[in-house]
Amino acid sequence: MSIDNVKITPEMIADHGISDGEYKILLEIMGREPTFCELSIFSVMWSEHCSYKSSRFWLKQLPTEGKQVIQGPGENAGVVDIGDGQAIVFKIESHNHPSFIEPYQGAATGVGGIMRDIFTMGARPIANLNALRFGDPSHPKTKHLLSGVVAGIGDYGNCMGVPTVGGETNFDKAYNGNILVNAMTVGLAKTDKIFYSKASGIGNPVVYVGSKTGRDGIHGATMASAEFDDNSDEKRPTVQVGDPFAEKLLLEACLELMAGDSIISIQDMGAAGLTSSSVEMADKGAVGIELWLDKVPMREEGMQPFELMLSESQERMLMVLKPGREAEAKAIFDKWQLDFAVIGTVTDTRHLTLKWHGDVVGNIPVLPLVEASPMYEREWQKTPKENKLDNDATTAPESIMADLVKLMGSADLSSRRWIWEQYDHLIMGETIIEPGGDAALIRIPDSKKGLAMSVDCTPRYVVADPKTGGMQAVAECWRNITATGAKPLALTNNMNFANPERPIIMGQFVGSIKGMSKAAIALDFPVVSGNVSLYNETKGEGILPTPVIGGIGIIDDISKAVTIPFKKSGEEILIIGETTGWMGRSIYMRDILGLELGAPPPVDLEEEKKNGEFIRDAIDKGLISASHDIADGGILVALAEMSISSNIGASIMLHRDQVEPHAYLFGEDQGRYIITTDDSDALLGLAAITHVHIAKFGKTGGDGLHISGGETISLAAIRETYEGWMPDFMAYN
């Protein structure tokens, strides 16, 4: 007997994560009891992962418009115009829970998934980035997770031939039981060749392409939204295995087919596989779709309809073709040795109709399925504001340089070379700024244009003040892009939070959204796509609120782009932006003094914008030879990074009358850059006109960092700890 003839029991309903209230709505929609297959479909469509039930209300507040925006949120990825008939298609996506359970495959399939979101829109992926958060380095799982995640990201992207050019990695005990793996892909398309998921044309064939369907990750989408418990190790067989080779073939085959005109719409099969892709296509097109599930290419024997609908087997796509174009399309997929099957048709019923050897096993009205999907305006509570920390509360260090060495060799600030050397960051031959700088920069092929990209978030600020933290993440991303000379265009975001049913967590989410919105509007940096990952919580221990921002920007002439290494000795070093010595929530406070106190540094969006525009203008005029934004660890860490990367030291002067030296050097005031020039008069002049804070800070040269009238430290000593931490930590793993 097929499971679809079985009577639905309350246990089944509960097992599917459907609440009593939700089941009532389901019955109203169906007007009868659902089949097992139908119940499964409701379950995944109404899961947090697919329905955004906790977040949707708030996401709607994000600013999504701008004249550069071709497509905002709501499609597989955002699309931004970069002129010359070209568009950038990009999005970030989380694969947090799967990566915790099986770091290699979890991360790999995360990368595979986000790449499909990009090429399903007709764009060739040209860069990958990733934002990673792990638990405390001393936690027994951290090494294993880090090594698996990095290998998984690397192997998938490397095989696809897409350079992985940037990212960020933090460690904090709050992620011990819930790591974060957020992957971003950036693709290039023609503005008149963007593909969407909206199905149309009654009677048109619905076509399945890619790898075969197995029982991979059944109920993965619901798992991804369920809080972990101690049994999560048991859920193992639902792990999906990635096949980057199949995806590379799928990429080439799809792009080859897209070069013609036979596709009406196309949609990757991501979370909730065939269910969400077919529902999305039908919903967007206000049509029905009938699927003949027995026609789906299967990898395993005895598969049932509900399994085919829920399977999260990777490397698959669903398309609607123009009538009569099947053979032409099939020839391309045959050539690339991929499965191709006509598995259904577009109907005028606005129902998702599922057939199994001719029998109807499911028949759901699409509109109510989508529209009645729950949306909760969850209760939320504001994080209490903290006062600005009085700098007198921080004792001055005995040796600034000893503290610098400690910070440069710390888990959060040390070099990530161990990670990015496992990523092919050079393939395609267009990488201009490699990992290790601020934003990554790649050339748009066959042009003078460069594309800058960065991912950023500072969770220790967000937890102290979600709104400021949300603003800061946007501002820092914008600043990183700006520091290369590029103009930031648009952003994608990945909202990683703990359990939203706790008001304080929901408050973090709401605050972050408000801060992000404010900054995105002020900086003309609209949101074009994103992803939400909630319930990152194990046994009541939640992660730090982590709204990751991924941004892109354009520089018209790559020969003008500026990088962080000093270029020669004897150049003037200047600080742009005001330094007040803000110590609250700084890395220095946390890692040197062991204190996580005070309000995080405020973000003054007017200043941010003014300073950024100044930097871009000065770079365009050729006045800046090296530039670096000032972030974690403050001025001295930024300076040390510039020195190490160039092997040119620096001598600096302190203005003792203004701020205590350690606060001046390690404080984390926002909106600042450190730059070098051989024409400081011109820069000072420009700053005066635009009312930008600018301060002479020192000169490049020597083989160490030297504070005039004070300490000196050799670059060799800094480099040793800076380059040494991660390889030492990961040794023999």
């Binding site: 290998a151 690397g154 192997d155 490397n158 095989c159 696809m160 031939g161 096949d243 980057p244 080779f245 199949a246 590379k248 073939l249 690339w336 040795q337 990015w420 050397e421 496992q422 990523y423 092919d424 960051h425 050079l426 393939i427 395609m428 031959g429 990488t431 201009i432 050339r443 790559i558 020969s559």
Partner: protein
């Protein structure tokens, strides 16, 4: 000069190679599909980098058995210049056109970084624009570049000047520390005894631009133009 670049399923550095050849020769190479049985009449055949057939089983093993490789072997025997880069080098060893094998890096990790190479033979069709013992800087990007051959083969390669590139430091020191992947005797690139088939793990095609990535790879492509 006419050239061809072979495309296998999973090849992914073909455009990098095409750009480099085009820049050196002014002519775009023809792209040849792995399933073809014939090659056009060309002076140079390039097998580019990537993950042919996913690098499953052994890197290059399945590509080496594809129809087009039979044609490549025939051309090789007729003296046509053949360059295998990275996965291309692996395919050349798997198909027997070059001796030895490329095994997993000793770190077991994929490794992408710039490295110095010592040019040990500047008298080949692929390196005549370099000077003997010149140090060039190019990137590697591979998981399986750990060159292995038995001692007899290694001695023969060295004796006959068939070792073309070795991993070194900026001063040309060749030792364990400068051997980034565990290759025997730091071997990064070799040539066959007839001098027409070369394989190398590093990517000269990603170093052809003064603005980024350096231009030390140009010498290799210019050498081929010179020789042909």
């Amino acid at each position: 000069m006419k050239s061809a670049v072979i495309l296998f399923p999973g090849t992914n550095r073909e455009n990098d190679a095409i750009k480099a050849i085009e820049q050196a020769s002014g002519k775009r190479p023809e792209i040849i599909w792995h399933g073809d049985n014939d090659l056009p009449d060309v002076d140079l055949i390039v097998i580019p980098g990537g993950f042919s057939y996913g690098d499953y089983l052994r890197c290059g093993s399945m590509a080496a058995k594809s129809p087009i490789m039979r044609a490549v072997i025939t051309r090789a025997n007729n003296g046509v210049a053949i360059l295998g880069i990275c996965n291309g080098f692996q395919i050349l060893t798997e198909s027997g056109l070059l001796p030895g094998a490329l095994m997993r890096n000793s770190s077991l990790k994929f490794i992408c970084k710039r490295t110095n190479l010592l040019v040990e033979n500047a008298d080949t069709s692929f390196t005549n624009q370099y000077k003997l013992n010149e140090i060039i800087n190019v990137a590697v990007a591979h998981h399986d570049g750990n060159y292995f051959a038995d001692d007899e083969t290694l001695n023969r390669l060295e004796g006959e000047g068939q070792v073309v590139f070795r991993y070194s430091d900026i001063d040309g020191n060749v030792n364990d520390e400068t051997c980034l992947n565990g290759s025997q005797r730091n071997i990064a690139g070799i040539i066959n005894d007839k001098g027409n088939v070369m394989g190398m793990m590093p990517h000269p095609e990603n170093a052809i631009n003064n603005l980024y990535g350096g231009s030390d790879g140009c010498g290799l492509f210019n050498s081929i133009m010179e020789a042909i």
